[in-house]
C-alpha cells in the first residue's frame, strides 16, 4: 500500500509500534476504567464554574440586560466580543476534519475527533451570548421566518444578523452530524469490547448497529468526503458572515472590505491555539503521547504562525488604508485604538497575536510542549482582545464627540464569560470520559504510514 513508503522525510504518525488491538486498548480502555483523580478534580471545578454561570445567566434574564455595563453609545461589548471569540475557536475542528481531509493530511486523524468536539462545544458557548442579548430568549423563535398572525410579517433577509443566525445554526448542526457519523465505528468498537451489560446497551443504541461491513465503509468514505466538501466552504462562510455583522454597518473601524478574510484568518489562528492548549493537556492526562505526537503540535504551530502573520498583515493593512482613505473618522478610529484610552487592549492584542507566534519559526520551540502551551494561551488572550478592540474601541468614540463614552464590564458580564468556560470544559471532560477521544478506526488506517510492512 502507498502508505507504507518509507522515506526519511516522512515521520511516523504513531510513534511507537502497536498492534491494532493495542491501539484500541490504549484509547478505549480509559472509557472502561474508573475516572482518575485528575479527571474528577477538573470536572468538578468546571461543573462548579458552570453552575455559577448558570445562576448569573438566570439572574440577568429575569432582571434584564440593564445588569450589563452597556450604555447608549456602546451597545455591544463583552457579549459580542465573547460571542465572536467562541465562534472563532469553533473553527479549528471543522478545518482540521474537513479542509485537512480534502488536502489528504494524514496527521489530522490523531486530533480530529477531539478538535471537532471542541468546535461543537465552542459554538454552543458562543450561542449563549446572542441568546441573552436578545433580552427575551423565550421569543427566540421570532428569528425564524414562520407564518404568523402579524401579517405574515417576515424577518429581514437583508440583515447580516439574520444571516448570522442561519450560518451559525447550519454550522452547528452540520458539524454535529459530521462528528457523530465519524463516531459510529468507534462506538461500535466500544460496544463489542465491553463486558458491562449497561455499556453494551447504551453504546449499542448509540452506534446505530454499525458492524464494519465494507459496503457500509464504502458509503461512509463517500459521505465523509461529501461532508468535508460541504463543510469547507461552510467554515469559511461562517466567519465571513460574522464579520458582515460589523462590515455592513457604517461605524469607523468596522466598515471595511478586509473584514471577511481577516476574520477567517483570525478564527483559524485562535482555533488552532485552543486545539494546542487542549491537546497538550489531553495527551498528557490520557497518556496519548503516542497518538497526539510532538509532530502534530509542530504542524499546528506552523498553521498558527501562518495565520498569526496573516492577522498581523491585516492589522497593518487596516492602519494603512485608514490613512490612505483620507477619511478623518476612519483615521481617528485607528489612532484612537493605538493611543486612546483603550491603548492597553490594542497593544495586548498586537503583542499576543503578531509577536508571540513568530517564535514558532524555530523548530526547537515548536517541539517544546511547555513553550507551545504558554504561547497558545497568549494567542487565546490576544484573540479575545482583538474582538474587544474591534468592537468596543470602534463604538466608544464615533462621529459625535458629545456622545463619546467609556465602558467597563459589570460582575454579571465577567461571570457570564467565566461561566461559558465552565460549560466548555464540563462538556470536554464528559467527552473524554464517555466517548472515544481519538478516532480509533482512522488512527488504525494510518498506522502503516511511513512504517515498513510487518
Amino acid at each position: 500500500m502507498s502508505d507504507a513508503h518509507v522515506s526519511k522525510f516522512r515521520q511516523k504518525l504513531i510513534t511507537e509500534d502497536r498492534s491494532y488491538k493495542q491501539i484500541s486498548e490504549d484509547i478505549l480502555d480509559t472509557l472502561e476504567a474508573p475516572p482518575t483523580k485528575g479527571w474528577f478534580i477538573g470536572f468538578s471545578l468546571s461543573a462548579l464554574v458552570l453552575t455559577i454561570g448558570t445562576i448569573v445567566i438566570l439572574y440577568q434574564v429575569t432582571t434584564g440586560i440593564g445588569t450589563w455595563g452597556l450604555n447608549k453609545t456602546i451597545g455591544w461589548s463583552w457579549d459580542i466580543t465573547n460571542f465572536v471569540f467562541w465562534v472563532g475557536i469553533g473553527h479549528a475542528g471543522t478545518l482540521i476534519s474537513a479542509i485537512l481531509l480534502i488536502f489528504r493530511q494524514r496527521w489530522r486523524t490523531g486530533i480530529n475527533r477531539a478538535a471537532e468536539a471542541m468546535t461543537i462545544f465552542a459554538v454552543a458557548c458562543a450561542g449563549i451570548f446572542p441568546l441573552i442579548h436578545a433580552g427575551r430568549p423565550w421569543l427566540l423563535y421570532w428569528v425564524f421566518p414562520y407564518p404568523n398572525t402579524r401579517g405574515s410579517l417576515w424577518v429581514n433577509f437583508h440583515s447580516p444578523l439574520l444571516w448570522d443566525v442561519v450560518a451559525i445554526s447550519t454550522y452547528l448542526t452540520v458539524s454535529l452530524v459530521f462528528w457523530y457519523m465519524g463516531l459510529l465505528p468507534d462506538l461500535a468498537s466500544v460496544r463489542d469490547r465491553t463486558k458491562s451489560k449497561m455499556r453494551k446497551f447504551i453504546y449499542g443504541i448509540a452506534s446505530f448497529g454499525w458492524n464494519g461491513s465494507t459496503k457500509t465503509w464504502h458509503h461512509f468514505e463517500v459521505l465523509s468526503l461529501i461532508l468535508a466538501g460541504l463543510a469547507t466552504p461552510l467554515v469559511l462562510s461562517v466567519h465571513t458572515i460574522v464579520s458582515f455583522d460589523f462590515a455592513t454597518s457604517v461605524i469607523p473601524g468596522w466598515h471595511t472590505t478586509i473584514f471577511p478574510p481577516y476574520f477567517v484568518a483570525g478564527a483559524i489562528f485562535s482555533g488552532f491555539a485552543m486545539v494546542c492548549t487542549l491537546m497538550i493537556l489531553t495527551r498528557k492526562i490520557m497518556n496519548w503521547e503516542n497518538y497526539i505526537t510532538v509532530g502534530h503540535i509542530d504542524a499546528m504551530c506552523k498553521v498558527i504562525t501562518l495565520t498569526g502573520t496573516l492577522v498581523g498583515l491585516a492589522y497593518g493593512t487596516e492602519f494603512f488604508i485608514a490613512w490612505y482613505s483620507g477619511n478623518e473618522y476612519e483615521q481617528y478610529a485607528f489612532i484612537n485604538r493605538a493611543t486612546g484610552p483603550y491603548w492597553w487592549a490594542y497593544w495586548s492584542m498586537i503583542s499576543c497575536n503578531v509577536i508571540s507566534p513568530q517564535f514558532f519559526w524555530f523548530k526547537k520551540l515548536r517541539r517544546n510542549m511547555t513553550f507551545v502551551f504558554i504561547i497558545s494561551i497568549f494567542v487565546n488572550i490576544g484573540m479575545w482582545f482583538e474582538r474587544f478592540v474591534i468592537i468596543t474601541t470602534s463604538l466608544h468614540r464615533d462621529y459625535l464627540p458629545s456622545s463619546w463614552a467609556m465602558y467597563s464590564p459589570t460582575w454579571v458580564e465577567i461571570w457570564t464569560f467565566i461561566g461559558t468556560f465552565g460549560l466548555f470544559f464540563t462538556l470536554f471532560f464528559l467527552f473524554i470520559r464517555f466517548l472515544p477521544g481519538i478516532a480509533v478506526a482512522e488512527v488504525k488506517s494510518v498506522y502503516r504510514y511511513a512504517r515498513e510492512n510487518k
Partner: protein, 174 residues
C-alpha cells in the same frame, strides 16, 4: 433469514485484500467483508458499485438553493415588500448568504439521512456480529456457501493467510 456462510478470519488488511482479489478472480461473489477500519481498495476489489450519495447531495443541495432563494424573493417582492432604507426589493446579493447556507444545510443533512437509510443504520439496531473483534482487529470475510465449492474455497483462503475458515449459519442481512 438465516443462511450458511463460509466465514474466513484474517488478521491483516493486506492479506484480506489479496485474498479478495483471488476469490473475485475465481468468479465467486463475496457477500461482505467486516473490517475494523476502511481498507483501501477493498471496495473496488469486491466490485461494490459506486455510492449514489453524491447524487443525493446534488439533488438536495439544488433543492435547498432554489427553495431558499425563491422564498426570499417571494417574501420581499410578493408577500410583503418592505422598504429597508431604500434598498431594492430584488436585491440578489443580500439573498446569497442565506441561499448558500440553506444549500449546505439541506445537502448535508439529506446526505446523512440517505447514508443511514441505505445502510439501514438506526439507533438501537441489533446487528449480527460474527466476531466481536471485527470492530477491533479482525478482518472477516463472508461468502454465501451455495456460491462456491466449500473445500476449494477453504484451501484458497487458508493459502491466502486466513487464520480460521468455517461454515456458520447466520442472518447477515441485519
Amino acid at each position: 433469514m438465516k443462511k450458511d456462510y463460509v466465514i474466513a478470519t484474517f488478521e491483516c488488511d493486506e492479506k484480506v485484500l489479496h485474498a479478495t482479489e483471488k476469490v473475485v478472480a475465481k468468479n465467486i461473489d463475496i457477500y461482505d467483508i467486516y473490517t475494523p477500519f476502511p481498507v483501501h481498495g477493498l471496495d473496488e476489489a469486491m466490485g461494490i458499485k459506486r455510492s449514489i450519495l453524491p447524487y443525493v447531495t446534488l439533488l438536495a443541495g439544488l433543492t435547498g438553493m432554489i427553495l431558499a432563494f425563491s422564498f426570499q424573493m417571494w417574501v420581499f417582492n410578493i408577500s410583503w415588500p418592505v422598504n429597508f432604507g431604500g434598498k431594492p426589493f430584488m436585491s440578489v446579493p443580500s439573498f446569497l448568504p442565506i441561499t448558500f447556507e440553506f444549500t449546505v444545510l439541506l445537502g448535508a443533512h439529506t446526505t446523512v439521512a440517505a447514508f443511514l437509510a441505505i445502510n439501514k443504520l438506526f439507533p438501537g439496531k441489533q446487528p449480527t456480529i460474527i466476531d466481536p473483534a471485527q470492530t477491533e482487529d479482525k478482518f472477516i470475510m463472508a461468502i454465501d456457501k451455495e456460491k462456491a465449492n466449500v473445500d476449494d474455497l477453504t484451501n484458497l483462503l487458508k493459502e491466502q493467510g486466513a487464520v480460521q475458515v468455517e461454515v456458520q449459519n447466520l442472518d447477515l442481512s441485519i
